[in-house]
């Protein structure tokens, strides 16, 4: 029987990936890196130790699961073993979006406020931890041999809020409804690859994909993929298996969630009640926090952090989820599409200045490729493109464009783009190149300018997995291929990476794709913009999960109050 440390070492070695080849998804394998955080904190190491011989040939996912179970249900346990969570208390939280569009229907959830509510009332089959590993939640294990045929074993003995038992029928219903055009699900394009979803007994579901995709566990961790009760038509009751139950839900006004005493992660949630609503005005949100009316204000502007920091008893949570505002150059457009012009614009990005003056430091320098440093597939070995006036001048001269004028469209609709445009204009002026900024209104920007103007800005929300992001915005056939980047090598890599079950190889493929985008796409990504939440320091256990703000929208079951 190997010791924990020895086993962990063994599992992390590429050799052991090969031992288990075909049995796992990459996310599950990377899932083991999280054991560095979680396993040393396990209060009682005996239980998993006894399981080890049995589990060593089983899915690693199952083991990560065992670890999660023992860790006081703490699938997202903080690494720095903070003081033990306290039970009880109420929390009032304000998101930044609120309208009658607010919904508890997972298929229609479309903003941070909705996602946070989904995670209060429902669970997914898997859930992201702070390193973006998809760990099992309602599932006990998610296994495959070929990345196409998947076997999902479900946890037993779980009940919905109304007392009915959670079974495979609920899973089949919840996942299948996204495929139905009549549901008009936001994630229909993703769900369509779940070709066949069928129950195999009350606690097992078999999924056949339309093509191999080793990232299925991550897809199942997407907020819209949470599990609702079989046959649900009226979603306003929020009947799920989640940590909280609906006491009140009034779209555009607020929701009140009360503790689910039968929650299957024992000991969770810590809070008795969470009142959640949206305050659309940034200043009002910050004022409400500072006056003590609310405990967490989500999505605040960088400027507001000064006010928060000046006040006593408040702090800012910085989540680097991978949101970015990118300079778009249509590579097939006349003049703008000249590869030398494109390269010159990338060399003209004053990334540090954008980070520090536009986002007041709440951003991470980007490298003209869309995968953020917090993503497991981020390739740190790719050389950082610097601000280089000489090279920019060289390429502009080569393009024969030095001395000419170009028109750049910016709008507040693409976060920070008016300021980024001014910085670019200013930097370009140093080498005698004139950029004219055309600032257009936010209303109608996405339908009238984005994807239409050849030289403009876009703003891309973080996507749950790197593959989804690349498929939506960089595949040759993608409807939102912002710069008209068409590269057969890239497309092949993208498809192949889904089928590849070996994590090391997959990482290498993602590295190559990042390089291709960085060098050949007409996209300049100067920085990744952080999501900022301000909170009262009486809220404990509040840390970043880089899928989005409010702990990757999953704060409700993870935080507690002290004082």
């Amino acid at each position: 029987m190997p010791g924990w440390a020895g086993l962990r070492r063994k599992l992390r070695r590429p050799a052991s990936y090969r031992d288990n080849r075909g049995r796992l998804a990459a996310k599950q394998q990377t899932g083991l890196t999280m054991s560095d955080d979680i396993l040393p904190n396990l209060p009682g190491g005996t239980a998993p130790r006894m399981d080890l011989p049995g589990t060593s040939r089983r899915s690693l996912l199952g083991m990560a699961m065992a670890g999660g179970l023992v860790g006081a249900g703490g699938l997202v346990l903080p690494a720095d073993a903070a003081p033990a969570p306290k039970r009880g208390g109420k929390l009032t939280v304000a998101g930044y979006a609120s309208s009658t569009k607010d919904t508890l229907d997972p298929a229609h959830a479309s903003n941070s406020t909705d996602y946070s509510r989904l995670f209060m009332f429902y669970n997914g089959l898997t859930v992201f931890d702070r390193h973006l590993n998809a760990l099992p939640d309602l599932a006990q294990s998610v296994e495959t041999k070929d990345a196409t045929n998947w076997v999902i074993k479900l946890r037993k003995g779980i009940a919905f809020h109304d007392g009915s038992p959670f079974t495979s029928a609920d899973v089949v219903f919840s996942l299948s409804r996204h495929k139905d055009a009549a549901t008009s699900s936001v994630v229909r394009p993703i769900a369509m690859q779940l070709q066949e979803i069928k129950a195999a007994g009350p606690h097992e579901v078999h999924i056949t994909l339309s093509g191999p995709n080793s990232e299925l566990p991550s897809l199942l961790a997407i907020y819209q993929m949470v599990i609702v009760k079989d046959g649900t038509k009226d979603f306003s009751k929020g009947i799920g298996t989640g940590p909280f139950m609906v006491k009140e839900f009034n779209p555009g006004v607020r929701s009140i969630a009360v503790r689910n005493p039968h929650y299957f992660h024992h000991g969770k949630p810590y809070l008795d009640e969470v009142t959640f609503f949206g305050i659309t005005d940034n200043a009002a949100r910050v004022n409400a926090l500072l006056s003590g009316d609310i405990d967490i204000a989500s999505g605040i502007t960088p400027l507001a952090t000064r006010q928060i920091k000046a006040a006593k008893g408040f702090a800012v949570l910085n989540t680097a989820a991978g949101n970015y505002t990118d300079l778009i150059m249509h590579v097939d457009a006349p003049t703008i599409g000249n590869p030398d012009f494109v390269l010159a614009m990338k060399y003209l990005q004053d990334r540090e200045r954008i980070r520090d003056s536009v986002f007041l430091g709440y951003a991470t320098v980007g490298n003209d490729q869309p995968i953020a440093p917090t993503n497991p597939y981020y390739d740190a070995s790719l050389p950082q493109r610097p601000l280089d006036l000489e090279k920019a001048k060289f390429h502009l001269k080569k393009a024969g464009m030095l001395g000419s004028k170009v028109r750049l469209v910016s709008s507040v609709a693409a976060t920070g783009s008016p300021d980024m445009a001014v910085i670019l204009q200013d930097t370009a002026r140093k080498i005698g190149f004139d950029i004219q900024i055309d600032r257009v209104p936010a209303n109608g920007y996405w339908s009238n300018y984005w994807l239409k103007a050849p030289f403009t800005y876009g703003n891309i929300n973080p996507r749950p997995t790197a593959n989804i992001l690349l498929t939506l915005f960089f595949q040759s056939t993608a409807p939102w291929n912002e710069s008209h980047f068409k590269n057969p090598t890239f497309d092949k890599l993208l498809i192949a990476s889904r089928a590849e079950t070996d994590l090391a190889k997959r990482k290498q493929m993602y590295g190559e794709m990042q390089k291709l985008i960085r060098d050949d796409a007409g996209i300049g990504i100067p920085v990744f913009i952080s999501d900022l939440d301000a909170y009262s320091t009486r809220v404990k256990g509040f840390h970043a999960i880089p899928t989005g703000d409010l702990m990757g929208f999953n704060f409700a079951q993870n935080v507690w109050v002290d004082g």
Partner: protein
């Protein structure tokens, strides 16, 4: 002389030359209804002209062409406009404003809760502001030209010049953030005590009062000053009518028409024009509902809100006109 005017009015009325008051009112109401029908056409046409549609808004960054087409078909956005207008009007006449395109809830339910909130805020503001504004306007008219009048003038001009968002934000910063006396948000929980209610409404009511106070006070003063300058008032003064009686009995009825109109206009603002205050204090009122609905292109909701605002406006103007008619018999002869 004053007695003579009123007596004269009464006599002429007895002769039967003017149309009976009831007929006047009926005619006035009928005109209002006709206007409302015209407004419904305008509201519908206006919402038709908004760019983009609800399908795009629902799907957001997930809007692929197929998804859009599917959702549009599901929401019946394909029918011709005039047909949808007739459907909508027919529904309205039967008290059915349809269902929200965004979340499927009935418009009546969505609007109902918010309307109650809006009316409550408007009522509190009215109760605080109208008597105060009339009092200040009347006293300023009586003591016109004095230091008091000048101070009132300066203050009312000042308050009407300060945008309400500035006042609201400053008030929040001072009373909520710094002093922590009052909440920054106006969230009224069900079963709140009277003290809690007062605290929750203090800042929004103060802000709104300031916004509408000036107009009412100044209109009252202006109308009254005009009347007080007329010869019949001079006559009354000469014959020795005491000031209070002079103003309330002789001058005010003649000034009531413009005052009622000013009050009606200010109050109609309290229903539809308070979106900034609702936003700053996160108050779930009707104005914010409409702005939300516009941004999500939820047309049935936009139309319902617009119709409510227009109806309220017409109703208030109607009441103001009737008050003027009743207060000033001469108006009945036009």
């Amino acid at each position: 002389m004053a007695e003579a005017t009123t007596a004269g009015g009464a006599r002429r009325h007895r002769i039967g030359a003017p149309p009976p008051l009831a007929a006047l009112i009926v005619r006035r109401v009928a005109v209002s209804l006709l206007l409302l029908l015209a407004v419904s056409v305008l509201v519908f046409a206006g919402t038709e002209m908004l760019p983009g549609d609800v399908a795009q808004m629902i799907l957001g960054q997930g809007a692929t062409p197929q998804a859009l087409a599917g959702l549009r078909a599901a929401l019946h956005l394909g029918e011709p406009a005039w047909l949808r207008y007739l459907h909508w009007l027919w529904g309205l006449l039967h008290g059915n404003a349809g269902h929200s395109l965004v979340n499927g809830m009935s418009v009546a339910t969505l609007v109902g809760r918010r309307l109650v909130n809006s009316l409550r805020l408007a009522l509190f503001t009215t109760v605080v502001t109208v008597p105060l504004a009339l009092l200040v306007g009347i006293t300023a008219a009586i003591w016109r030209g004095t230091a008091y009048d000048r101070v009132v003038n300066i203050l009312t001009v000042a308050t009407v010049s300060v945008p309400e968002f500035l006042f609201a934000t400053l008030a929040v910063l001072i009373f909520a953030v710094r002093l922590r006396w009052l909440p920054a948000l106006s969230l009224v929980m069900r079963g709140a005590s009277f003290a809690e209610l007062l605290r929750a409404y203090a800042l929004p009511v103060a802000t709104l009062s300031l916004a509408i106070f000036a107009q009412m006070a100044r209109m009252t003063r202006a109308a009254l000053v005009n009347t007080l300058a007329s010869s019949y008032v001079e006559m009354a003064v000469l014959k020795g009518v005491r000031p209070v009686r002079l103003v309330l009995r002789h001058a005010l009825p003649n000034a009531l028409g413009p005052v009622a109109n000013a009050v009606a206009l200010s109050l109609s603002f309290l229903l539809g024009g308070v979106v900034i205050v609702e936003t700053v204090f996160s108050y779930p009122g009707l104005a914010k509902l409409m702005v939300d609905a516009v941004s999500t292109r939820d047309m049935p909701l936009v139309q319902a809100c617009a119709m409510i605002f227009c109806t309220a406006y017409l109703l208030l103007v109607l009441v103001a006109d009737l008050v003027a008619l009743l207060a000033n018999p001469r108006l009945r002869h036009r």
